[in-house]
Amino acid sequence: MLDRLADIRHKIADFPEIITLFTFAIIFLFFAVVATDTFLSAYALSNILTFGGITGIVVIGIAFLMISGEFDLSVGSTLAVASYVFALTLVAGVPAIPAMALALAVSTFLGLINGLIVAYSRIPSFIVTLGTLFAYRGLARILGGGTAVKYTPADMPALFTYLNSSLTRINTLFEPAGNFRASSLWFIGLVVVMTIVLERTRYGNWTFATGGNSQAARSQGVNVKKIKIINFMFSGCLAGLAGILIFSQRNSATPLAGVGLELIAVAAAVIGGVRLTGGYGTIIGAGIGVLLMSMLEQGLALLGIPNEIFRAVAGFIIIITVAVNTYLRKEE
């Protein structure tokens, strides 16, 4: 009897995404029953995809990094820095595309700093990025002078429509109108691209190896330091992209942008099956995880429950999910 249980446990452990989908279904059903009218509308459901999509872009980067065995708690602050850089260069009159390139370059550079410190010292990544979380937040404050930066030109740059405009043709199909935005397309596209990179390229293989057993990887000739540094740069870059997308929707960069993002991102990755210790995970799983978190946030907001409770639930989810996954993988 216990053998059968162990068998089932191990089968599930091989596909933790089963738990993710199961939990997703349960939460969906819960809100569908409890808040039927508001939750099951095109507006609410599209919001899940829209807001989840932006967080999701950040989560893709974090998941990739976690698979290679490291954490980045500074993504929220990097997002803020990127949105300020984007805003300030636009206000200074620089055209949209170079401004975006600059913002992405800056956020990638912030990721590079994280990567270099982690790769070349023995300091654990969560300590380094805990420090840079605050350091980069200070940088964002300095850039913005502590206030929001708004950009209100006569015509919005064409780039903004490609970045994060409202998909009105789809939205008007529904009553009340949906809220699909281009950012969801970016999210889906990036999930596909990064999944291919992770599972079909040698680089992805190296990433798994680095996270799973870095000694073995190193002895196989994998340049572990370089992989980690590059993955930190991905994480920073994607966080920057998210900041740019948010800005092109709201046209303002605020000092509190991205606060608390790291918690949600780790929760999404973990519930999506990415292993905390590294070496296992899928980008698709992380994508489902972020949609799950976004659905939770939307649902709780529709029920009038304050955001702090959502964050408490996110913390709870991290602990429970990792504990469950650890139990499932336990050898008898």
């Binding site: 410190i117 010292s121 023995r122 300091i123 654990p124 969560f126 300590i127 380094v128 805990l130 420090g131 840079t132 979380l133 605050f134 350091a135 980069y136 937040r137 200070g138 940088l139 404050r141 300095i142 502590g146 918690l263 780790v266 905390l276 304050p306 702090e308 409770i309 964050r311 408490a312 639930v313 996110a314 913390g315 709870f316 991290i318 602990i319 990792v322 504990a323 650890t326």
Partner: protein
């Protein structure tokens, strides 16, 4: 491997240079000297006592955090615990509750939260920073629910506030414009007590063992689970005390308090020579680390930089010092 000769064993290293306190002590003195020279008004008693007051609160937290780090674990939820304790104390005492019950309840709840952190960490075998990242948000949610999002503020001056964190009149009368508070006394007292526990009792020895070499500790019969749970509980209890003292000083509490405390505490411990990998550390060092960080903060403010960048300074300090220590250890080994 160098053979150790009899001559070597007779050579006594001066205690001074072996002591882990030297780097942070040195740094604090240098920073103070630099600030005294370059920052306007820094040398005044008012400023120094101001720095000590702010540092006292953080120092109480760092005592616990240092001990926990020596045992090899982290606690990112101390800020939230501080917040809850502050609210509980405020609710119990405003309007005439018994101070003993107020303090007792606040401390009890804090200790419980620490024990929960410890239990979850030990029984799920998750890294403590992940567990406390999770409990941080759970406890913050609790703060929100318990407080209803409301601020508590009071203008009545209760005697217990003066006892906990009032102005030290006899010193303040001696030195003109001094502004020392009783919290500093509590810090010194607690630091001495815990330093003695850490370095002169078997329990303290166990803490070092658990963090430095868990296998050896188990082999020696140390009950690792108990040691860690006690350390987690102590950390949160001290955080709760810090929250009570903060309320006594400001007579107010709002939902967002204690936001950067966990980082400041870890930074203070690291600056003070506590290793991130555990097994090494000192409470006095941690106090010096906090003193350094709060001195930097005052300096930053007095030099005219916007004070909300203080957190960035702490962040840079923690990474910078950790890097420096790592580099030094690399060179020495």
């Amino acid at each position: 491997m160098n053979a150790i000769t009899i001559a070597d064993t007779h050579k006594k290293q001066p205690f001074f240079f072996d002591s882990p306190i030297i780097p942070p002590l040195f740094s604090v003195l240098i920073v103070w000297l630099a600030f005294w020279l370059f920052v306007p008004n820094f040398g005044s008693v008012r400023t120094v006592s101001g720095v000590l007051n702010a540092a006292s609160i953080n120092a109480i937290v760092v005592i616990g955090v240092t001990m926990l780090m020596i045992a090899g674990e982290f606690d990112l939820s101390v800020g939230a615990v501080m917040s809850i304790a502050r609210y509980i104390f405020a609710h119990m005492i405003v309007g005439g509750g018994s101070p003993i019950i107020a303090i007792g309840l606040a401390l009890l709840v804090s200790t419980l939260m620490g024990a929960i952190n410890g239990l979850i960490t030990l029984y799920t075998r998750l890294p403590s920073f992940i567990v406390t990242l999770g409990t941080l948000s759970i406890y913050r949610g609790l703060v929100w629910v318990y407080s209803g999002g409301e601020m508590v503020q009071t203008t009545e001056k209760l005697a217990v506030y003066e006892f906990l964190n009032g102005r030290l009149e006899f010193i303040n009368d001696l030195i003109r414009r001094a502004n020392f508070r009783t919290a500093t006394v509590w810090v010194i007292l607690l630091a001495v007590i815990f330093q003695i526990i850490l370095t002169r009792t078997r329990f303290g020895n166990h803490i070092f063992a658990v963090g430095g070499n868990p296998q050896a500790a188990i082999a020696q019969g140390v009950n690792i689970k108990w040691v860690k749970i006690i350390c987690f509980s102590l950390t949160s209890a001290l955080a709760g005390l810090a929250g009570i003292l903060t309320f006594s000083q400001f007579a107010s509490v709002f939902v967002a308090t204690g936001a950067t405390v966990e980082l400041t505490a870890i930074a203070g411990a690291v600056v003070g020579g506590t290793l991130l990998s555990g097994g090494v550390g000192s409470i006095i060092g941690g106090l010096l680390g906090i003193l350094l960080i709060d001195t930097l903060r005052s300096g930053v403010v007095l030099l005219g930089f916007p004070s909300d960048n203080f957190a960035a300074v702490v962040g840079i300090t923690i990474v910078g010092v950790a890097l420096l220590i790592d580099w030094i250890r690399g060179r020495l080994s």
